[in-house]
């Protein structure tokens, strides 16, 4: 994994705790390995696990970019990331890194959105 220039905005934290631990900062553009995808994040689905990880436990890095899931667009595909090309719309899951403008994920943890399908229907229920 290589580290590139600074310049990707991310919601990060330096220690676990309540929601107030978040800072909105520049972080290194995530580098990708041979089988990885670099994805422009279009929407983050906040998972229950994201809030749990923010609340407690060890940090994999400091500052840390939390987050399991996001939908986005492939910017770059590693040479062994078969079946993916720049421009592909994807859903991704990873151990962390969704709360940022860009994330890197193994291609095995990415799914291309069906090309012929319409965009995901948004259905707002009355509460």
């Amino acid at each position: 994994m290589s580290v590139r220039k600074l310049g990707v905005k991310a919601a990060v934290y330096y220690s676990t705790g309540p929601p107030g631990v978040f800072r909105y900062e520049d972080v290194p553009d995530p580098g990708i390995g041979e089988s990885d995808l670099l994805v422009r994040v279009d929407a983050v689905s906040i998972e229950g696990g994201d809030t749990l990880n923010r609340l407690q436990g060890d940090l994999a890095s400091v500052p840390h970019v939390v987050g399991y899931q996001c939908a986005g667009t492939v910017i770059e595909a590693g040479p062994a990331a078969e079946g993916f090309s720049p421009g592909d719309r994807v859903v991704t899951v990873g151990l962390n890194g969704s709360h940022a403008e860009r994330r890197a994920v193994p291609s095995a943890f990415a799914w291309k959105l069906p090309a012929s399908g319409r965009p995901s229907p948004r259905h707002r229920l009355e509460r």
Partner: protein
Amino acid sequence: MDEGINYVRSDFVVEARRITEGHGVDVIVDSVGGKTLQGSINALAYRGRCVTVGDAGRSAVEALDISSMRPNNQTLCGYFLGAELFLSGRAHDLISTLLQRVSSGDLQVVIDRTFPLSEAAAAHAYIESRQAFGRVLLVP
């Protein structure tokens, strides 16, 4: 959805028994843990299966009473998607199918609210306020 139970207003174990006319629940996917997981076990039918998939209740480890499980031939097991994605293609294929069903409109994704990524703290606080019904999104 055939039946919904508001667990704030009623005991979901009692309600599950009532709705199933005493049969109990054949398969339960429990994402809450703690006391809720105990309730799930108690709500199982004969030969029922309960799958624990999360700990949204953030409960400390509790001793589970499993004394009803053996006489009723019930099963309690765990599921962790991350491991399945690493070790098996089955979960990947299953998610592909679900995405197809979302894309076709067969399944609908409920989106409660969208926040800018810069307001991640507010988005997390909103989830923890327990007001959200559906997904809460961040958009960079």
